[in-house]
Every structure is written in C-alpha cells, then in structure tokens.
C-alpha cells in the first residue's frame, strides 16, 4: 500500500489524536450524517412469523455455512433462546405471547445494519464498513481479531471463530451484500420466507409500509417501528403485536448513534496534545527557576514529602 506524504501526515495527526489539529474527516459511517438516502433495508413483521426456520436454511445455503447438528426442520432448537454465532448469521427465537396464553411469538434476528454502526466505529482497522446500499460488511483482509466490535455492538450480533487458529473470521450477517443485494437481488432469507414476514426495499419506503400496517390495524400492532430511531436508526426494521422487550429486543439502547458516545473523548484529544507540552514545559522552567533562586539563597530545601 502506497502512502503519499500528505496522507501520511494526515494519518500521523489522526494517530496522535484521531481527527485533530486540522479537522480531518471522520470515517464514513461514523460521521454525523443522516444516512445514505437510497439505502436498502428489511422490514420484519413479527405477527407473520411462524418460526419455521426456512430463513435459517436459506441463509446457511447461500453463505455456505457449516451443516447444523440439528436439521432446520427440527424445531426443538427453539426451546432455548439463541444468539448469532460463528455457525449461523440468523436465527429464530420464540417467546411466550403475553397477549394469548399458551401461544408463541417468534422473532427472526440477525445484524440490524445500523445507520451509524457501533461496530464500525469500534474497529481500529476499518474492517467493518457501512455501504451506501445499507448493509454493514466485514473485510477479511484487514481484521486483526481484537473483537472490540463484539463488545460494542448493542445487539450482540458479531460472533468469532474461536476454534480457527490460522484464519479466524468475524462472523455476521451481510444482508447478502456480495451474493445478492449489491447485484440488485434480495436477501436469501427474505425470499425464502413462506409467510412473507419480511419485506426488502428502500428503507424510507419500508417505514411507510410499516406505518400503514400499524395504522390499518391498530388493534393488532404495537405502535412502534423498532429500528426507526433506535441507536440512531437501523436498516433492519421490526413491527410487532407485542411490546419489543417481550421478544428480546433491547429497548434501552436509546436513539443516540453509538459513535457519538466516544466522539466527545476523541475530540478532547487535540486539546491535550496542544496544552500538555506547553504546560509541562512551563512547569519544568518554573521548577528550574525556583531551584536556582533557592541555590542563590544557599538554602538546601528539605521537601521530601511535599509533592502531591
């Protein structure tokens, strides 16, 4: 990789304090912006999901993931609440329906493809990026495996291949970016769903669709589109008949985009870089001076315990 001189200085400045002195432009996907206008997304309607796991099977196939120990037709896996793992990008969980006793509500889960992803702002090598089309994707070529993205993701999405010694990958849903969506296709899981529980489209259109469904059947839906504002907005949206905390979606994540949480700290860095050397140098001169004066007075200072 060739680095021009100019670029080098920019990087050096950024390294000293990420985006300092001269205001260097923050990374795409983590800067203050309202999102790519034509980004795609998926709307999942939980009232339609029947927990058949067809989406899981389709995801497994298109992404050439390892064969599962329990076949996809076997619904016994639903008994335990799962999270995304190194073996599957997406999974269906079931939750007791608070409205109808003895019934279940199902939720398909995967990466939510945040508009300003926590994971991307955590990555120190830019292995995770937000594409203009919407999906958040991971670059195998630069990831060093620090797993900070996993700590940062508010939805516990990224997983790691711990048993791989030589090329462990970070594993997460790509919204079929390489295989389908970048070529005008729709994600495999969306296509596979027999209940049409998911709709793929431009995010702004999906919001309208979701709003209309809620308006038409206010008795059926909770009046909330999960992902419209959560963590600053996500490309994957959900509507549901039950409150979202009942189906394992965190409702305490707030609406502030996650990169904002560290922006304050990072912007303080340049100040430290400028003020500190001056301050410390000043202190040095000051102590020097004081010493000289005391020497002139020929007093040997006894100040053993006086520094704190």
């Amino acid at each position: 990789m060739k680095i021009s001189r100019r670029r080098f200085f920019k990087i050096a400045a950024a390294a000293g304090g990420a985006g300092i002195l001269g205001k260097s432009k923050p990374a795409r996907g983590v800067e203050q912006f309202t999102g790519w206008p034509d980004r795609f997304g998926v709307l999942t309607d939980l009232t339609r999901c029947v927990g058949c796991r067809s989406c899981e099977a389709a995801c497994n196939e298109i992404n050439k993931l390892p064969q599962p120990k329990v076949p996809f037709e076997d619904r016994s896996v639903l008994e335990k609440e799962r999270r995304a793992s190194a073996e599957y990008y997406t999974y269906v969980n079931r939750y007791a329906d608070p409205k109808n006793k003895g019934q279940w509500v199902y939720r398909k889960a995967q990466c939510n493809h945040c508009d300003e992803p926590a994971c991307a702002s955590a990555c120190l090598v830019k292995a995770l990026t937000k594409t203009p089309e919407g999906p958040v994707i991971w670059n195998e070529k630069v990831c060093i495996g620090c797993r900070y993205c996993m700590t940062a993701c508010p939805f516990y999405v990224p997983a790691y291949e711990y048993s791989n010694a030589f090329s462990p990958n970070l594993v997460k849903c790509t919204m079929c970016y390489d295989t389908r969506t970048s070529k005008g296709g729709i994600p495999a899981c969306v296509e596979a769903c027999p209940m049409e529980a998911m709709t793929f489209g431009k995010r702004k259109d999906l919001i309208k669709v979701a709003r209309k469904r809620i308006m038409d059947r206010p008795d059926k839906y909770t009046d909330h589109i999960y992902g419209e504002h959560e963590v600053g907005g996500t490309c994957w949206l959900y509507i549901s008949g039950v409150p979202f905390e009942e189906v394992g979606l965190p409702t305490d994540v707030g609406t502030k985009p996650y990169p904002e949480f560290t922006r304050g700290f990072l912007s303080m860095v340049p100040a430290v870089l400028v003020v500190w050397p001056a301050l410390l140098g000043g202190f040095y001169m000051f102590t020097k001076n004081r010493e000289q004066e005391t020497e002139e007075e020929e007093v040997i200072p006894e100040e053993k315990e006086e520094w704190s």
Binding site: M1, I11, A14, A15, G16, G17, A18, G19, S24, P26, A27, V30, R83, S85, A86, A118, S121, A122, C123, L124, V125, K126, A127, V142, C143, I144, G145, C146, R147, Y148, M150, T151, A152, Y156, Y160, E161, Y162, S163, N164, A165, P168, L170, P250, G254, F261, T262, F265, L266, V272, W276, L280, G281, Y284, T287, K288, E291, K304, E305, W307, S308
Partner: protein
C-alpha cells in the same frame, strides 16, 4: 590465530561478566538452582503447553470462547490491569524531571524499567489474545480506523513502548560501557519524558473510553461519561503503589544491587510516595462520588452489584487512602508498603469489574473466564518477573552511574527545547 584466540577470550570474559554475573557457565547454572527459580520454572512449564495450544488450535482451546463476552482474562488482566500498573515510568519521570522532585531521582530508573516491561508484556498479552496476532502492526501501517478509540490506544502503546525504551537506554549503555551513546540517550531524556506524559494521559484514559461504546452493557454504576478520567487518575496511584511495592520486594531480595545511599533513603522516599498516593486516592474517591451523583445512581447501591460497587469504592479506594495517610503520619513504612500492595489489588478489582464482571451484567448466563486462561496469565506474569530480575541483576538500575551529573539534564532540556 593468536588474534582469534585473543578475541575469543575477550568474548568469553564479556559473556561471563555481563551475562553470567561473573561466574563461569557451570557455576552460573548451579547457582540457578534455588527454590524460587524451581517454582517459577514449574509454573512456566505448566503454562507453556497451553500457550502452544492457543496458537495451534485457536483461542477457543484455552479461553471460554464466549460470543457474548469476547474479551478474556488476557485483556482484562494483561491490558486493562497491566497498563495502569505500568504507569510507574511516566509518574516518576515527570515527578523528577518536570516537577523537580530531585530526591526521587534514584527511583526513576526502576520505575521506567517496570513501566517498560509492563507495556512490553501488555503487548505480549495482546499477541496471545488477538485472533490474528501477526496483524498487530496493521493499525500502524496499513489500515487506519481513525474513528476508533482502540486505534488511539494501539498507536499510543506502540509509541510509548518506544519512548520508554529510549528513557531506559542510558542504563543499557552504561551496562555495555558505551559512554558516548549514553550521553546521547541522556540528552533526550526530558523531551522523552514530556512526550511520555502526553501519551500516558491519553492512552490511560483511552482505555476507559473504550467502554463508552458499551452503555447498555456495562453496569450503570461503572458506566460513566467520566470513565476516561477515572482510568487516568487511578493510573496515578496504581503507578505510585507499584513503585512502592516493587522497591519493597527488590530492596529485600535484591539488596546487593542497591547502592547503600539509595537503600538508606528508601524509607523516606516510600513515605513521600505514600503521601502522594493517599492524596490521589482521595481525589479519585471524590471523583467517583461526583460520577455517582451525576448519573443519579444512588438507588442502584442496594442491589447485589451495588454492594459490590461499594466494596470496591470504600474497601479498595477510601480505605487505602486513609491507610496511606495514617502510615505517613505515624511514619510507618511497613503500613505504607502493605497499603501499596493492597491498592494494587484494588486496581485489579476495579479493572476486572469494568472489563469483566460488570460488563454484560444483564445477560442471564454469565461466564467469566476459563481456568486455562488463568494458568496462561500466571505463567506470563512469572516470565515477566523473571525478565525483570534478569535485567536488574545485570544493569545498573538501583545505583547511579558514577558519571551522573545533574547538569546533564539541563543540557537535555536545552536539547529538547531546541527540538520541540
């Protein structure tokens, strides 16, 4: 031929003097057989197979490999606890060279060495923990995630490690008898110190800032906007306590390496450090209270996590602050030394709380660490101690070079002023 033999002789005597502590190989090896070495050897031998396993079979072979709690003890101990404990170097160097506390001058070298080794081994822990450790230099050379706090940490740890090496160079050159190089190294000391303080301020706090990105995951009692400040301030008393602890052990077990003058002054210096530590601990306590009030978290104190938080705050911050103060007042060096060890434990408790116990507190099933991680950590710490001892047994760390003049540091300042 004779010239060759002569050279060989010179080399042999160099090896004997510089590496084998003036003994021949046989005597040196025999001298190694001591209880401490045997125990240390066993620990390392037990740990090594696990380290090999980690590289042969992947991280999952030795860690709990949790998807929810992706960081293992390697980072919680090696990075998050190891780095504040290695704050020794910047604290002593700035106290002496910048704030003019000249009486602490003999402590600078051990402090810089402790810091250097601490950082060096923090990097070793990183190499164990990273999924693809051979890519460690990527953030420095090929792929720049400038919006990441971790990017800042990576750069600063790398730069600071080099800075501390420069700061320690005079000792290395004295050992090698390279006088001219020694003067050059001394000439940059003040500049390196200022640079080191800047780097330390930033990355000590950046380690805390890493957790700013986990607002929903870190327990609200530990999560605070002030967490960078907490991490920075606590690194000060962590470093001070480490210097006291380190000098306590070495002045006892490596007494012969101390110059008599330094040894005689050590109790007084220890009390001085204790006083400083007491003050900083108290400041930190105040800051934590402000943080608590700021977040309106009082009601959480009655939960289990809350009680644990109080144990940390009262037991490992306020108590040692008083103990230090009391020890200084009653001029009890023993109490100050005990409190230093206690404070180090407190730092470990705090960093493990933030990076392990209070993180992901809402998850129903928690895993903390796997016993194999623990064995690897203990083995690496043992190697760390052995390396430290190897160095102080050979290099002039606890004694001043006969040629040392304070005026050299004035020159050094002039030089660095010119450079800056």
């Amino acid at each position: 031929m004779t010239e060759f033999v002569g050279k060989q002789k010179v080399f042999q005597s160099w090896v004997r003097e510089k590496l084998f502590l003036g003994m021949n190989l046989k005597a040196y090896l025999k001298n190694l057989i001591k209880p401490f070495n045997i125990v240390a050897g066993i620990i390392v031998l037990v740990g090594l197979p696990f380290i090999v396993m980690r590289y042969a079979q992947g991280l999952g072979a030795v860690t709990h490999a949790s998807q929810d709690q992706p960081w293992s003890l390697f980072l919680s101990w090696g990075l998050f606890t190891g780095v504040p404990l290695a704050a020794t170097g910047y604290i002593m160097a700035s106290a002496v060279y910048i704030f003019g506390q000249k009486q602490y001058h003999p402590m600078v070298r051990p402090a810089v060495l402790t810091g250097f080794i601490g950082y060096f081994f923090a990097v070793m822990f990183l190499l164990v923990d990273l999924g693809r450790p051979w890519r460690l230099p990527y953030p420095m050379i090929s792929s720049f995630g400038t919006a990441s706090v971790l990017f800042l940490v990576a750069w600063h740890v790398a730069l600071y490690l080099s800075t501390q090496f420069v700061e320690f160079c005079p000792a290395v050159f004295e050992w090698l008898g390279a006088n001219r190089f020694r003067r050059w190294a001394i000439a940059v000391t003040v500049g390196a110190t200022i640079f080191g303080v800047i780097l330390s301020t930033l990355h000590q706090s950046a380690l805390g800032a890493l957790f700013l990105l986990a607002p929903g995951k870190l327990h609200p009692l530990w999560y605070s906007e002030f967490i960078p400040l907490f991490f920075f301030v606590s690194s000060i008393f962590a470093g001070l306590s480490m210097i006291i602890a380190e000098s306590t052990l070495t002045s006892r077990f490596l007494k012969h390496r101390y110059s008599p003058g330094y040894l005689a002054r050590l109790p007084d210096l220890t009390l001085g450090l204790g006083k400083a530590a007491s003050f900083v601990l108290f400041t930190y306590f105040g800051l934590k209270i402000v943080g608590l009030a700021h977040g309106h978290q009082w009601d959480l104190l009655s939960t289990t996590y809350g009680r644990w938080f109080l144990v940390e705050l009262l037991g490992f911050v306020l108590l040692p602050s008083f103990l230090f103060a009391w020890g200084v007042r009653s001029r009890s060096v023993g109490l100050v030394r005990f409190t230093a060890f206690f404070t180090i434990l407190g730092i470990a408790v705090n960093r493990l709380n933030v990076s392990l116990f209070a993180l992901n507190w809402k998850l129903p099933h928690r895993v903390f660490f796997y016993w194999k991680e623990f064995i690897v950590v203990i083995a690496i710490i043992t190697i760390e101690i052995l390396v430290y001892r190897w160095i102080v047994n050979r290099l002039p760390v606890y004694r001043e070079h006969p040629g040392y003049r304070e005026s050299e540091f004035e020159e050094s300042f002039q030089t660095s002023k010119a450079i800056l």
